[in-house]
């Protein structure tokens, strides 16, 4: 899937050339080809893989934490926090300068990322703070959904008072894209997300215990509150990071854990976590490849692809699961 992403694009480049560029033997290959392969396709493929894996992990953590198969990274309002950050930035710069400078140049994209990250982290902090005050984890879920609504409503207000061009820029960001990460930020982005994924891989045991419910987990010696907090933090951090750079990408976080569970018929997180990382990366690469298929010219929003693929997948799994389980008895 990774190779497929490198090979396909609006410009045909021979496979041999691509491998030559990647392995550092770029003699005799035009400079523009090298640039396309290294700066665009390779960067984008890595971004897609890393983001997909991170979102899928965040989704798995949320589903286990809330013991709710419909939870996903956006459920706590972290993505809508990011949206709000972006909307505020667009409105401020738009009305201050009277022009659409936001998406132009490196400062524009850096500003966008920073705004999204700040918005997402702000919501995450609110959630982490409230998590100590609510009695039950389900209350937190409801608070998260409410924060989403508040964020959405504020974005609506801002849109209403914004210029048409700014709204367009916002909509564009909201569609999600794996091409926002540049060559210079790729290493930073990858390490930040992979770090979060690495931590989550160490959480298999507490995650398994939480499947039994909070009280059984506590009786098995788990410090429930502390582990819930850690899980919340890791998934929130992953969502914030990825949404800031790639926009709010839907359905990967929701669908991938279901696919992984169904693949091995298990809820054992020692198996589930690595499977989710791989499946998430593959699905994101696939969606990215579809979005850049000839004819779409790379303009197809990634969110349209993830939703169109992810939603039917979840439906199919749910229906199939019911059948097989009934046959078991």
């Amino acid at each position: 899937m990774f190779v497929l992403n490198l090979v396909s694009g609006s410009l045909m480049i021979p496979v041999a050339d691509i491998f030559a560029v990647l392995s550092g033997h770029a003699e005799g290959i035009s400079e523009s080809t090298v640039t396309i392969v290294m700066d665009f396709r390779f960067t984008q493929a890595v971004t897609a893989a890393v983001s997909g894996a991170g979102l899928a992990i965040a989704g798995l953590l949320m589903q286990t934490l809330f013991r709710n198969p419909l939870a996903d990274p956006s459920i706590l309002g972290i993505s809508s926090g990011a949206s709000l950050g972006v909307a505020i930035l667009l409105m401020l710069t738009g009305s201050a300068t009277g022009s659409v400078l936001v998406l132009s140049g490196i400062w524009g994209s850096l500003g966008l990322t920073t705004a999204a990250f700040l918005g997402a982290m702000l919501v995450l902090l609110v959630i982490l703070f409230t998590s100590h005050r609510v009695g039950h984890i389900v209350s937190l879920l409801i608070i998260g959904i409410m924060i989403s609504y508040i964020g959405g409503a504020l974005v609506g207000f801002i849109k209403y008072y914004s210029q048409k061009e700014d709204v367009y820029a916002f909509v564009l960001w909201g569609m999600g894209s794996f091409s926002n990460v540049g060559k210079s930020t790729l290493a930073f982005y990858s390490f930040s997300v992979l770090g979060g994924i690495a931590i989550s891989l160490l959480l298999a045991k507490p995650l398994n215990m939480i499947l039994l419910g909070e009280r059984y987990a506590a009786n098995l010696g788990l410090s429930v509150r502390r582990n819930q907090w850690i899980i919340l933090f890791v998934s929130g951090y992953l969502t914030a990071m990825i949404t800031a750079f790639a926009g709010p990408i839907a359905f990967i976080g929701l669908a991938v854990p279901h696919i992984a569970r169904n693949l091995f018929r298990t809820s054992e997180h020692r198996l589930l976590l690595p499977t989710v990382v791989l499946t998430g990366a593959i699905l994101a690469l696939f969606c990215n490849w579809v979005a850049r298929l000839p004819g779409f010219d790379g303009n197809l929003p990634i969110n349209a692809v993830t939703a169109l693929l992810g939603a039917p997948m979840v439906i199919w799994i749910i229906i199939r699961r019911r059948d097989t389980y009934q046959n078991d008895t």
Binding site: L202, M209, R215, A218, N219, L220, T266, S267
Partner: protein, 334 residues
């Protein structure tokens, strides 16, 4: 005599913001003997679940102390608690991909390392837990597909795998049909008497608890807790007063007595009336088989106010106290 669980001046209840702790009961002073099955009974809202939660460390006591194997529960780490007390709760496990073996395996988590890898010894304990609880055949079935009775047995298998000397169960027999109830209780009796587990279970099925428990803890809203032998509590009329209903249960018939184990000899009870019926109840519960005539070597005569225990035509004890009687009987036949 040292108790495996010793409760001293324990106040249980809940915390209300602004008002502090609201106690449900007067301070409790109760204790558990190792290898005994104790039934916790009382009307709804009398604090049974709160007491179980407090003992297992899932809720904080308002005041007082709990000593577990001689150590104050406050000084135990989460890990130490997990290795001393296991619980079977009313909470349902709802993940459709969790199989029976997965759930039972989690009982070993207090013993495993950071990643939860199971050693061969852990696996042996897991298999043993499923074997004893009688759920080995279900090992690969998803937990969500089991009947209520099977599910309770799986959670008990988990508790056995957890290898704790103490098992606390909150309403394990609720929602079960009668055969499943008997099945469950005989498993618990076996665990207590043969595996030497100390078992405390709450239930509002009075009859079932009276038939199986070695001791009863009786709770009533705002009332002093009472502890004692089942039949003695019945005959003293205490149980009726704690349930605000004296006609709550009928006197046992010889036919509906359940023989949990019959490792003892035959004994004949001569006499009739309520005291004779409850004496038979106690004898069957303790593993005696009831004789049909006074030709047996061991006879208990139920007189106006006292009991006479005769063995091979020799009077062993004459007492008005059923507990003293059964103690003498046990001492004579051990």
């Amino acid at each position: 005599m040292s108790y495996i669980v010793d409760i001293q001046n324990l106040e249980i209840g809940y915390f209300k913001s602004g008002e502090g702790g609201i106690p449900l009961l007067p301070p409790l002073n109760l204790s558990l003997n190792s290898g005994s099955l104790v039934g916790l009974i009382g009307a709804n809202g009398s604090g049974k679940s709160t007491l179980l939660r407090t003992l297992s460390g899932l809720a904080s006591p308002l005041s007082g102390n709990i000593f577990i194997q001689g150590k104050n529960a406050r000084d135990l780490t989460l890990d130490q608690k997990a290795k001393s007390i296991s619980v079977v709760l009313t909470d349902t496990v709802s993940d459709p991909y969790l199989r029976v073996v997965d759930v039972v395996s989690m009982g070993r988590y207090p013993y495993t390392g950071f990643l939860g890898r199971l050693s061969p010894a852990d696996k042996q304990q897991i298999n043993m837990g499923m074997e004893v609880a009688g759920v080995s055949a279900l090992r690969h079935r998803p937990i969500t597909q089991l009947s209520d009775g099977e599910r309770q047995k799986v959670m008990i298998a988990k508790a056995i795998a957890q290898d704790t000397p103490i098992i606390l169960l909150d309403e394990p027999a609720a929602f079960l049909d009668y055969p499943s109830k008997i099945d469950l209780m005989s498993l618990l009796v076996r665990l207590a008497h043969h595996e030497k587990k100390t078992i405390l279970l709450s239930s509002h099925d009075l009859e079932l608890v009276l038939k199986s428990a070695d001791r009863i803890w009786l709770l009533g809203k705002g009332m002093q807790a009472v502890e004692g032998m089942p039949e003695k509590l019945v005959l003293s009329g205490l149980i009726g007063s704690y349930f605000n209903n004296t006609q709550l249960f009928e006197e046992p018939d010889d036919l509906d007595l359940v023989q949990w184990n019959s490792d003892k000899q035959v004994i004949f009870v001569a006499g009739s009336g309520s005291r004779a019926k409850w004496l038979k109840h106690a004898l069957v519960r303790l593993g005696w088989r009831l004789g049909k005539s006074n030709e047996h070597a061991q006879i208990i005569y139920v007189k106006e106010i006292h009991y006479e225990y005769v063995k091979s035509d020799k009077l062993i004890i004459q007492t008005a106290d059923i507990e003293d009687l059964l103690q003498a009987l046990g001492a004579e036949n051990c």
